[in-house]
């Protein structure tokens, strides 16, 4: 397998955590989003949308979209499970995951920044405030659910990590990119800390990647 990835991408971070938890290795190829490498014709031939992660399987088929790739790993490499058994519980975990994947993260992608700064003429400070607002709103939604649901345990759902934790950690790191901290979200903060005790999460962290800046 080949995975197109980048140290700073939150979607690539999520996929790395799942790979580490399940022990799935793939050859990594870096696509530097800040340099706009996702628009290179060679990468566009792999994912015409110009987004990472993209996963090329040994049979040549290409998978895109972090949530779809994580669900693929869950089905193809079921141990350890990252979704509960019960359908209602699975829906809860997927809903928590989607609050990151479909609510927070989509508002802070390079294409959104390009539109805010290009077409709408906003500067760095306004983009940072925008990003803090929407990343914080997604974390707040996650906190509400975690704080009220009886299923919340040491992790988002019971006492083992699930896809909800994978996404939560990426959301906390993403919030920090824009100057936010999880201090206002005590359950999120507690679970994030529990996840970051786990080697699979630590090794996947953006700053632990070989192409990350050293400082």
């Amino acid at each position: 397998m080949i995975v197109y990835t980048w140290w700073r991408s939150l979607a690539a971070f999520r996929v790395r955590i799942v790979q580490n938890l399940k022990g799935v290795s793939a050859e990594e190829r870096q696509v530097d989003l800040r340099e706009g490498k996702q628009h290179d014709p060679t990468f566009r031939a792999i994912n015409p949308q110009g987004a990472i992660p993209a996963l090329i399987l040994d049979n040549g088929r290409t998978l895109v979209q972090s949530m779809a790739i994580m669900e693929y790993f869950e089905e193809a490499f079921p141990t350890p499970p990252l979704l509960p058994v019960d359908a209602v519980d699975r829906a809860r975990v997927r809903a928590l995951a989607q609050m990151t994947v479909a609510d927070g993260h989509p508002l802070v992608t390079p294409r959104v920044r390009a539109y805010l700064e290009g077409e709408l003429g906003h500067g760095e400070a306004q983009y940072m405030a925008w990003s803090r607002h929407f990343m914080g709103a997604a974390l707040e939604a996650i906190e509400w659910h975690l704080a009220r649901d009886a299923q919340t345990g040491m992790f988002c759902h019971g006492d083992q990590p699930t896809l909800a934790d994978v996404c939560l950690v990426s959301q906390v790191v993403g919030f920090s990119y824009f100057g936010g901290t999880a201090d206002a979200f005590p359950v999120v903060q507690r679970i994030n800390a529990a996840c970051m005790q786990i080697d699979a999460f630590q090794r996947a962290h953006p700053l632990a990647q070989p192409d990350a800046p050293k400082a």
Copy 2:
């Protein structure tokens, strides 16, 4: 089951299509997003995020997030299947679905409009242009994949509707809300037309809902 819904919501539209395809009925309660009813304390007690759809199961548990609810219906009511059997094929269908759920739709929610018009001071015309841009970009991504993948058939994946088609139809309708048409996306247009021949899709259409405007 009780579903909190609204005629114009694209996420509620997706869930209605799945319910219709699978013959799952639920009592409908309307939450008018244009009137801001999602912020009412009574609804916030159900979904603190103030978003629809929300599904209350007969056992009292609440599900949120359209993708999580659709996956729940797929698991709890497996006939007819809306995901293929093979894990790679399932990932393809989920990826196509996520291009609507995680790429297009999140950019045109009421909270995004509120920020663009409130904090950033943009007007109706700029919001419409923003929305057309991002809804069109998501449709373009879907078109690219559909046009190049051998798995594309009468529908997005083979010759039976899947969750990818459910999401595609909501994306086309959402694009039309902002003055866009699928003319530039021939495979999307063909598949959308095929879906709209199906009663379950027709009955779920926003304009077919009892609370929709008559004109």
